[in-house]
Amino acid sequence: MTPLIQATNLARIYQVRRGLFAQPKPVRAVDGVSLAVMPGETLGIVGESGSGKSTLGRMLLGIDQLQAGEVRFEGRAMPELRTAEWRALRAKMQLVYQDPLAALDRRLTIASQLAEPLEIHRIIPKDQRPARVAELMVAVGLRQDQAGRFPHELSGGQRQRAVIARALASRPKLLVCDEPVSALDVSIQAQVVNMLRQLQEQNGIAMVFISHDLKVVRNIADRVAVMYLGRIVEEASSDVIFRSPRHPYTQALVSSVPVPGKLLEGRVILQGEPPNPANRPAGCAFHPRCSIARDICRSTAPVLRQIENRRTAACHIVADGAVPVAA
């Protein structure tokens, strides 16, 4: 089976000048990331802020220009940004935003916003659009009387439901969710995540679910990629990665999630400064915070390689212990 979307060696480098006379310094927001998502599959992308996960999501959708690498959607290369072809492709791939209030036009009613993708892509005849909008509202759990409301008249959770409904209107094959629930109350988060999961299963949509919150990702993702400073450090199926994380960074993240009925023992606590993409450490980017770092970690950056079946990691030590080094 061919992947729905396949990214190879994506890179996004910003030139940042710090200080008045300094030379511009490259900041590698995304640095050599490759991944693939199968139709109907959910890939979770986890990382701290500054790990480049949002940029990666936007690059997958073709909203951010690629500086290196390639994205293929349904086997074809991504068309040039803002061409008619690119716009037409939007019907197949959609984004769910972190801040639903900002993503909705405050001057249009919910119903007219949900109808927008239908109008833009001329998907169904005009007279059937209201019915489709009503159907979408039911699907995301909005009441019919909210159709005439404006975004600010809804609650945060309802707004996010509206954004999701708008994203689903054109029946896309891929949904990129960028921190879709982190702006919501914890009590609402679960509802929205469950709804997303249900909609995804019903419609067979592939999903890239970006979050800093492992608990949320665990609930929804089939597979998880962990990012650190613009690179994927470990990738495996959701069950595997949560049961036995291998990369020290993944271990730290997983152990920070409390599990009911278990004591927090053997918890790995991250040390040192949080990652700063403008000041990337030499060697393995994670080594200043790593408790098991060796000399090689300070000098040589580890490459992502297979350490088990359907599992990759970028760590000298893990690779040493598990599989014979093949680099």
Binding site: R17, L20, F21
Partner: protein, 308 residues
């Protein structure tokens, strides 16, 4: 910072070049100065001689390049009417204009800004409403109406102040007042809204919540932040020190730049008009440049943004 200053300087130079070009194109394309200067009933050979003497028989772009070159060497041409250096004619009038505009600017600053800030700090009070009303009045009455009303009241009805001329400092009173009233209104309005905007910011609440004296909150937190928009307006006023007096000088027969401009425009005295346009634009551009640099000093955020 250096690259920021350089970019701004470059933009300033481009702007001045654009003004020169604009003046040149408009003035040269619109009519034959020879006809205007010499009158309609002059023989053709006299006209030709005149055109040759002033270089008007050359192609336009040659005239333009010659003009650019002469400006570059500090020569702004010779007035066709007075046969005197245009720059000298213009500079000769500058002091008269500044005699009006500088006192007017000072009046605007010392009355407008405090009034606006006072109004902002005492919102909805009687004083606030008074300031708003006076500001709007000052702002909506055009200077030519204001000037004529002042003349009507103080010169014609009361007979206490002269209505025109430049003989003594008393003659300057009415024009200065005429010019400053509108500016006072504008400054008061701007200072008031800038101050109100700043006073609504969270950091002001924080400052007063942490127990700072109200006076310290206003002086060390609110005022510096309100200064940015106020400086913009003041910069604009400084920039129009020379240009702002055209109408008022014309009402009070004050022999400044503005009168010279109107007279030269009606005589189509090209060299003088171009020179005035350039002097005015240069003042404007230089004060804009200074305002931009002041921004950086007043607002650290802009400083860092400028560096990018």
């Amino acid at each position: 910072m250096i690259s920021f200053v350089l970019t701004r300087l470059l933009r300033a130079i481009i702007t001045i070049l654009a003004v020169v070009t604009f003046a040149f194109v408009v003035l040269r394309m619109s009519g034959d100065p020879a006809q205007v200067m010499l009158g309609p009933d002059v023989p053709q050979d006299v006209i030709d001689a005149f055109r040759k003497a002033w270089g008007l028989d050359q192609p336009v772009w040659v005239q333009y390049l010659a003009y650019l070159k002469s400006i570059f060497t500090g020569d702004f041409g010779v007035s066709m009417r007075d046969k005197a250096s245009a720059l000298d004619l213009v500079l000769e009038r500058v002091p008269a204009t500044l005699q009006l505009t500088i006192p007017a600017l000072i009046l605007k600053l010392v009355i407008g800004i405090p009034a606006g800030i006072y109004a902002a700090l005492h919102r909805q009070s009687f004083a606030d409403r008074g300031v708003i009303l006076l500001a709007i009045l000052g702002f909506t009455i055009p200077s030519f109406v204001m000037g004529l009303i002042l003349v009507l009241v103080f010169s014609i009805i009361l007979g206490v102040l002269p209505s025109g001329g430049q003989d003594t400092w008393v003659h300057g009173i009415l024009p200065t007042i005429t010019m400053s009233i509108g500016g006072i209104g504008i400054l008061a309005r701007f200072s008031r809204s800038a101050m109100i905007e700043v006073m609504g910011q969270p950091f002001i609440r924080t400052a007063s919540a942490k127990g700072l004296k109200w006076r310290d909150v206003v002086w060390s937190h609110a005022l510096p932040n309100a200064a940015v928009p106020i400086v913009t307006i003041v910069g604009f006023m400084v920039g129009s020190l020379i240009a702002g007096a055209v109408v008022v000088e014309s009402i009070f027969s004050w022999p400044g730049i503005g009168r010279l401009l109107i007279v030269s425009v009606s005589n189509r005295d090209l060299a003088v008009v171009q020179c005035i346009l350039l002097v005015i634009a240069a003042t404007m551009v230089v004060s804009n440049l200074i305002v931009d640099l002041l921004y950086g000093w007043l607002d650290p955020r802009l400083r860092s943004r400028a560096a990018h």
